[in-house]
Symmetry: C2
Subunit: 144 residues, 2 copies
């Protein structure tokens, strides 16, 4: 990052309306682990589990599924993922309406970072960077 | 990761007693940004700001300072860091008593990951992987 001036005030995290975690795999063995993590998540967290994509979609360069969750879920979900991702690469990014920055600048990685084809994502609120609201589809039965 | 069997039960995040964030720099310009982030942190969060290390220490391969914080602080601090790290690489790792895994397996990265010389860190609770308790040294005056 070049020529970055020092801003006078930081951004408020209130700009974050939700988060997406993307759990990736690149082999049959990793896919099995990813589905194991998926079931663990379904049993423990109120989240929206997305389609299991065996081929790359959107900015993602390998197979993955998305886990959408509300800001208040981060406090429990992220520590759990740190300990239980089973060696898989996981991208966690906030949604602030600026999709490109959210994937490339604001994101965090658990495990090895992977290539993201996110340069063409919209980056202004006016571009309709809007992300669908989280609609949980899990019914947890276990404590995290 | 090879030959990973699928565990029957996930780890509880209750094993996490604290977190460390490490903010890195590799140039004078990055150092200025790192100190800017440091002041922002001091003004907004109850954390323990560590020494500004201009030379690599411990497992760290470049200059950095540490920010220690309690588990309950993650929910506000991490989203804020996602939006306000000013392009710097930041490692956030939990402390579970297994220092090697905490740095190499359980950690997350904001920005570009850097080399960590963590292979020789102790990894069993019996090795005294214990980490000092967080002793906050900031007095926030601003809302995050």
């Amino acid at each position: 990052m070049t020529d970055l001036h020092l801003p006078g005030a930081p951004h408020s995290a209130l700009a974050i309306t939700s988060y997406h975690a993307h759990v990736y795999w690149t082999s049959a063995a990793e896919r099995e682990r990813a589905l194991h993590v998926r079931q663990w998540l379904a049993d423990r967290f109120v989240v929206q589990l997305g389609t299991v994509h065996d081929r790359p979609v959107g900015p993602h360069s390998v197979a993955m599924y998305q886990v959408a969750f509300t800001p208040d879920a981060l406090a429990h979900l992220l520590p759990w993922l740190m300990l239980n991702r089973l060696g898989l690469s996981v991208l966690v990014h906030p949604n602030t309406g600026r999709a490109r920055d959210d994937h490339l600048v604001h994101a965090l990685w658990l495990g090895a970072p992977l290539v993201l084809h996110a340069d063409t994502l919209p980056n202004s609120l006016a571009d309709g960077g809007g992300v669908s609201a989280v609609v949980p589809n899990t019914t947890p039965t276990s404590a995290a």
